[in-house]
Symmetry: C2
Subunit: 188 residues, 2 copies
């Protein structure tokens, strides 16, 4: 679901796409340059990194504990604390992807999955969308991580995770968004 | 500030970098492929998109109203509602960048700027960090947008923005994080 924006604002800001060129094809993402027409009629170029998207899950048990993963992340050169997540295949149902990652990374099945948001991680340059689900009614199953993925699983209470976000100790966007939205649902 | 993680978890998950190659140089970002050594000694390749980072500001007035911007975003093919933000130059002080964007995009100066978080927008693939500030004690000044940037400025009450986040109507990661963290500060 997207926001309802007044038509005159959309007309005032709309930029049309004249052509799309992929200038680098990577294994994980592609780098595009698009020729666009600005609202005043001038021409410009926009660089866009294209990615198949991802799904992420915040699994919250009946006592308010969340199963999280530690993982080494090269782009930030350190170990981060994140919710379970994984890349989607092009065209894959994000719910199927989220359920798979929940099972593979932390060994949980959810009786209930609720879509929280379709996060745009960096919409000025990057087209990645991360579908974030709240998973409840959890039952354990086998953990089965990808062979080149090294994870350490740990549980935290949701209230402690909110405190860590507010102390700038958790910095991953999907993880902060999931924690703060789940907190709003459970502690309203 | 980064999270304090137990040393044995870091040792267990650490991946060393053997070499870094830039395979595409863009105007906005670069595409890298790194050779790394996994925790079990095997070798792997990691793709990393490199970006100079950004700064963003949530300006909240004494009545709880937030000055926001509508903007067309090609990566998501639509107009989005976001907090004021802009790309940092390499080496630029993020606070200086945040103050500039606040003045240029929405014509405000802040008596107080408080760092909320150093967001990692997508740390599995993208090294972008977005320094997000809470701006208060606001005074108006001239708006002065970049010449190829088209914006529509509108104020919303913080509580309405939280409702829009919870309805999956605002999807930009930095904007959701700023709204939810500011709400936690003002409505605790």
């Amino acid at each position: 679901m997207a926001e309802l924006i007044e038509q005159d604002i959309i007309r005032e800001l709309y930029e049309s796409v004249d052509s799309q060129t992929t200038v680098h094809v990577g294994r994980v993402a592609n780098y595009d340059v698009w020729d666009v027409t600005l609202p005043d009629g001038r021409k410009a170029k926009r660089e866009i990194i294209r990615h198949p998207g991802a799904a992420a899950v915040i699994p919250v048990d009946e006592d308010g504990y969340v199963t999280m993963v530690y993982q080494f992340r090269h782009p930030v050169s350190r170990v981060t604390l994140e919710i379970p997540a994984g890349k989607k295949e092009y065209g894959e149902d994000p719910l199927v992807c989220a359920e798979r990652e929940l099972q593979e990374e932390v060994g949980l099945k959810a009786g209930k999955m609720q879509l929280l948001t379709e996060l745009a991680s960096s919409p000025g340059i990057f087209d990645e969308r991360i579908f974030i689900y709240l998973a409840t009614d959890l039952t354990p199953c086998d953990v089965n991580p990808d062979e080149d993925e090294f994870l350490n699983i740990k549980k935290f209470h949701l209230s402690e995770l909110v405190d860590r976000v507010m102390r700038n100790e958790i910095q991953d966007s999907k993880t902060i968004v999931a924690i703060m939205m789940a907190n709003q649902i459970f502690n309203k």
